[in-house]
Subunit: 164 residues, 2 copies
Amino acid sequence: MPTVTATPAKASQIDTKLILPFINSVKSVLKMMLGVETKIERPRVKSVPGTEYDYSGIISFSGNIVGTVVLSCKKDTAIKLVERFAGSEVPPDTSDFADALGELTNMITGAAKKDLGAAASISVPTVIMGKGHMVARPSDVPCLVIPCVTELGEFAVEISIKTV
Amino acid sequence: MPTVTATPAKASQIDTKLILPFINSVKSVLKMMLGVETKIERPRVKSVPGTEYDYSGIISFSGNIVGTVVLSCKKDTAIKLVERFAGSEVPPDTSDFADALGELTNMITGAAKKDLGAAASISVPTVIMGKGHMVARPSDVPCLVIPCVTELGEFAVEISIKTV
């Protein structure tokens, strides 16, 4: 019988040097690819899997940096982000919609990775589509939620990475 | 404006040598950790993000093997799997529940990785909790769904990896 209860992560375990590249990459990718300004709200530590989203793009790090980065939003926002990104309307819950949201997640994470300057690699994106789902990481890995506000709607970038 | 339409993957692109280790690891981990036999049904290629699940444990590969492995199931099955795994009832939609399902995904993927014999590393698990969500991968990466049947219910292992 395995032990499944992990020690909850503390805010102090989060390395702020790992966070800034993502704030910069979100702002620059959305400005460059979608032509929108992004206002970053106060980041908060996620301790329980509480927030509900309709769409999540997930990318994992490995190498010198391990963990996961998730771009999550409600359906309305996802539809607007994807439409602006693809240049035309894309029906939600299709492969094309998932590809677009995954590629947006990939661009944000890829730009941040360059900035991190570490010998890390990132995975292909996985996209979750489903009204009101929650994203949980192992509770011993700290997770910082960065709320982002744009004219297309609000979304969150959840960063749960550490250097090894 | 980026191109977001990828070429759909074909069944012939799936390397069966990459699949067998997962079939073996599912059977052995469930036998060893949960004491249940697993019947493997006929695998099928997933071309569109069609199947709906309530819980998904996601792990990414990087290194010589890249891609994603997802353990997905309905709520009833997830509750039974986690209860048997943890040795006692665990309330769903909690951190402990996610940790348990993530650890089960990790054990299955870790055992398969050893069998694959490749210089690959696997990420920490991400767990999605939400009724009727769909999991989508980039549509140019082939994905094989392995349906698994046990006395605790049915679940699926979705394998979307390739050697590089």
